[in-house]
Each structure stands twice: as C-alpha cells, then as structure tokens.
C-alpha cells in the first residue's frame, strides 16, 4: 500500500468529532470544487447522468447552506476538494475493500474522497428499483461536510439505505444539523413581494391566495410560508419563471390592488413594466393602450429613478417609493406625489429604539400578508414597521415606527444561493 494511504482516515467516529453530536465542520471556505475522477466512472449509468446526479446532490446541500459547489473537470487534482468515484472490491487506492453486492454500498473519507461500490445496483432518481445514486450521494456528501450517522427517522444521514419516493429532500433536522456547522444563509435582496393569486374552488367561489417571492440578482425563490422554507429546487433563473421583465437586478415590485384596480408593476432603472398575471407575462400593451416598458417619470410623475424600492399601502392607497434617504408618497388616485413629500425616511418611519434605523439606501420594502406587516430590508437585516395590532397592544408606539432590526435569516429560513453553474438545474 502506498505510504500516502496511511493519511487516508475514515471519517468521523474519530477523536476529532465534537463530543455531542459527532458533527465536525470539514471546510472553512465557501466554494468547494468536486470531480468524478476519470478512472472512477460507473459502468452502470451513462457518464453524463452520473455527473448530473452528483451535481444535483451537491446542489441540494448548497440550497440549505452558505456553501457553493462547483464541478471542476480540468484543474489540478490538489485543488479539488471532493473527489468521487466508483469501484469494485479493491478500488481507487482505497485502504477499504468493497464487499461486493449487498451491505456496504459507499463510504467517505476525511480528505473528501467518496467511493461508491460499483457492484451495487445504483439507479437514477426517477427509478423505484435498486439503490438511488442521488440519495447515497447526498448522504456521503453529508459525511464529507462533517455530518455523522443518525438514526433519526427521515434523516438522509441514516446509515442504512431506505428506499425512498423519487422526490426525497433534506428535512428540517438535516438542515439545522448542517447549518450548525456552516451557519445560515445571509444576504440582501433586490426585492421581496407577495404575489396574489385568484382561484375558484370547486364551488366556483373566488379564493385569494398569495405566494412570497424573494429576488436576488438574476435568480429568485418562492418562499412557502406554511413550511417555513423555500420551494424545493429553488433558486431558479428569473427568466425561467417570469416573462418579459428584466432578467436581473429588479429594483421594486408594486401591486396596486383595490376594488377596481389590480395592477402589478416591476421597476428597474428608469423604466417599469406591467405584468399580466393571467397570461404570466409582461404586457406589451395593456387594456388602456399603454405600451410597456414605460418611463417611471411618465407613469409616476415626480418619482425619481432608479429606485431603491417601493411598496403599496392598501389602506392609504399610497405607493411609498424609496430613494437614498428620502421616501415619496404617491397618491394612486390622483396620480401625484403628496404635497408634503419627499420626506426623510426616518421622519416617516421613525425608530422605536435610538439609532436602530436603516436611514438610507434600503434594499427592499416588503408588505407581507402572512405577517400583515411591512418590512424594510437592508443587507441581511430587516426592520418591521408598527402595524395596527402593534398599536392596539402599545398605544405609545409611533405610527409607521420601526421595531429594532432583526436578522432576515431568522425569520425567512434557508434562502440560499447555489453556484451559478447549477442554477439551471
């Protein structure tokens, strides 16, 4: 055996594991490179399918951690953090010999090597026979990242293979376990908004539902409030889900929703687009004959651009446009800025705790139907605006006051970036 084999040590179960859960953080950098090594391709699945399954496995971990994984096909092996390969019996210079079909189907080593026993019948995610390569890969990558085995029902880190429906995901506890090692996902958002959907139930009654969206750069997440997480498989490209609006860096979204009006606008730069919810695409010309995109100065006289953000206050029938340290209140009925505006943000949205205020350049102003509140986002924190219920409990609170800042990731969980090379998956 080559001497360097002696450096290979089985993961976990060794004295470095932390005393309690046995989980140890394995990497201290954010972007990790991986490779299915050339001599380690399986003879059972087409090569590109193997690489696709591993790319998906890594992506699933990056959807819940600040880590990003990038496939590296050509760089020096020494710079590849995780090397994967298939083998039979004695394999890939590994000190541990695979046992043939049955029992041990894969293992992972401290230095980030992951081996799969090619005597096992590995199958693609859609198959309901054999051993799901995706599920085993997610498990072994969990080891490489530092997670030990657990017997907790539903965990991907159970030692034994459990046949799974095709759509398996990392459950809440697995997410918390890996976030204990690598932290939660932080970051600012270009815009956040609730999208109203009108549906009719089987009795023909109109139902109004909403979905929450977070936009960042050229990708976005749908946030499932009832599950406290983003939709499985998000983020995805804006262009994949929204048609006719700019592909990235949206400044603001405003939904003017009254008894007679239902207008949805996206803002970017000095232009805005109106979105047709029924046709799921931006208007080129709306029912009033307005052609889009339009100049903000035309549709909203007195409003500067580019904007920082904006939101529509349904009670007051006002749009609050934010730019720098100023806020503009725009009366949608009279189609003009209120006379007393612009004002300083801190004057319209006063701090309830001294100096605890965004002051200027906020990223997003988001009215949440789930929380019946407006949130002002800046960086990775938010300030909640005092709402009617808050005032009923504490009459001393100023109208539109801002509660002290909180962490966005502490309220909206697992809004994580993935490596741009995997966004299209």
């Amino acid at each position: 055996a080559k001497r360097f084999l002696q450096l290979l040590r089985p993961l976990l179960g060794w004295e470095e594991a932390s005393r309690d859960s046995g989980a140890t953080r394995a990497f201290s950098k954010r972007i990790l490179k991986w490779r299915l090594v050339g001599e380690g391709y399986s003879s059972q699945l087409p090569a590109d399918e193997q690489r696709y399954i591993f790319r998906l496995a890594f992506r699933m971990w990056s959807e819940v951690t600040p880590l990003a994984f990038q496939e590296d096909l050509t760089g020096p092996a020494a710079q590849v953090d995780v090397k994967l390969g298939f083998g039979r019996g004695r394999h890939l210079g590994c000190p541990r010999v695979f046992d043939g079909s049955g029992q041990e189907f894969a293992h992972a080593w401290r230095l980030g090597d992951v081996h799969f026993d090619d005597d096992e019948h590995f199958t693609p995610p859609a198959s309901d026979t054999g051993i799901s390569l995706l599920k085993v890969a997610v498990h072994e990558i969990g080891h490489v990242l530092g997670l030990p085995h657990t017997y907790r029902t539903g965990s991907v880190m159970q030692p034994n293979y459990i046949p799974q429906e095709p759509a398996f995901e990392l459950d809440w506890s697995d997410r918390k376990a890996i976030q204990k090692l690598y932290g939660t996902c932080e970051g600012s958002f270009d815009t956040a908004f609730d999208w109203i959907r009108k549906e009719r139930n089987q009795y023909g009654e109109l139902l109004v539902r909403f979905s929450t969206y977070f936009f960042r750069n050229s990708w976005y997440w749908l946030y499932e409030n009832r599950n406290n997480r983003t939709r499985y498989g998000d983020p995805i490209h804006i262009l994949m889900g929204w048609h006719g609006i700019p592909a990235q860096n949206i400044d603001a979204f405003v939904h003017i929703w009254t008894w007679r009006r239902d207008e949805r606008y996206f803002f970017k730069g000095n232009q805005y687009w109106r979105y047709d919810s029924d046709k799921d695409q931006a208007h080129t010309e709306d029912e009033q004959g307005d052609r889009y995109p339009k100049l903000i100065s035309e549709g909203f006289p007195g409003i500067p651009s580019p904007l920082d953000t904006a939101f529509y206050d349904r009670r007051k029938r006002l749009i609050y446009f934010f730019k720098g340290s100023l806020v503009f209140a725009f009366d949608v009925n009279r189609n003009q800025v209120l006379n007393s505006y612009p004002k300083k943000i801190i004057d319209v949205f006063p701090a309830t705790a001294s100096q605890n205020h965004p002051f200027r350049n906020i990223d997003s102003a988001y009215y949440s139907y789930a929380h019946n509140s407006v949130f002002l986002f800046k960086g990775n924190v938010y300030w909640k605006v005092v709402n009617d219920r808050d005032k009923q409990h504490n009459s001393w609170l100023p109208s539109n006051g801002l509660f002290p800042k909180e962490s966005i990731s502490g309220k909206w969980f697992d809004i994580c970036d993935v490596h741009t090379s995997t966004l299209g998956m």
């Binding site: 002696q6 040590r9 179960g13 060794w14 046995g22 080891h143």
Partner: protein, 105 residues
C-alpha cells in the same frame, strides 16, 4: 458505450460473483459491530461475551429492535441491509484502518 477498463471487458462481468459475505453468525456479527464502531469498552474483569452482548444491545436499540443482546434473525437482517461504510459510532478506532495521526504537509 458502457464504460470498461479491462481489455477483456472482464470488469463488466455481472457482479453476482461478488456478493458481500452475509453476516450469519456471531463471529461475522462481531466483526460487523467492530467495523461500524459498535464496540463496547470492556470493563476490568468483564468477560468478553458480555461486552459483545452490550454492543449488540446498543445496535439493536438504535435499530428499534428488542435490545436482548442476543443475535437473532431480526438483528441479522438489520446487519445485512445495504448501508454506508462510514462507522455509526465514535467507538474505538477501527484497528484495521490504523493510521498514524496525519502530519501537516
């Protein structure tokens, strides 16, 4: 093509020739427990078999089986299930994979 590396395609042979040795008796069961970190630390004066029984009980309990410490059919079935090769338990280091502490390169 289906990938092969040997000139005679022998590595494409059906894998049924290479079956994992089933765990079917106390000796292979003991090796299984040691391999995956289910080794109870023997106490002074502690006869070996009870340490084995203790390790067995821990494994049975983790697998929601009656923790009898006796090797029964259900326990053998659990041991023969497909699984990951990483040890379950901190336990004592696997003597077979004994390696010196890694020196910084």
């Amino acid at each position: 093509e289906i990938l092969f590396h040997s000139r005679d395609h022998s590595d494409l042979e059906p894998s049924f020739l290479r079956q994992a040795q089933p765990i079917a008796n106390p000796r292979t069961a003991q090796r299984f427990l040691a391999k995956y970190g289910w080794t109870a630390v023997p106490r002074p004066g502690d006869p070996g078999p009870s340490a084995f029984a203790e390790a067995m009980r821990a494994f049975q309990s983790a697998n929601q089986l009656p923790a009898t410490g006796v090797l029964d059919v259900a326990t053998l079935r659990a041991m023969n299930r497909p699984r990951c090769g990483v040890p379950d338990h901190r336990g004592t280091p696997d003597p077979r994979a004994q390696t010196p502490p890694a020196r910084a390169r």
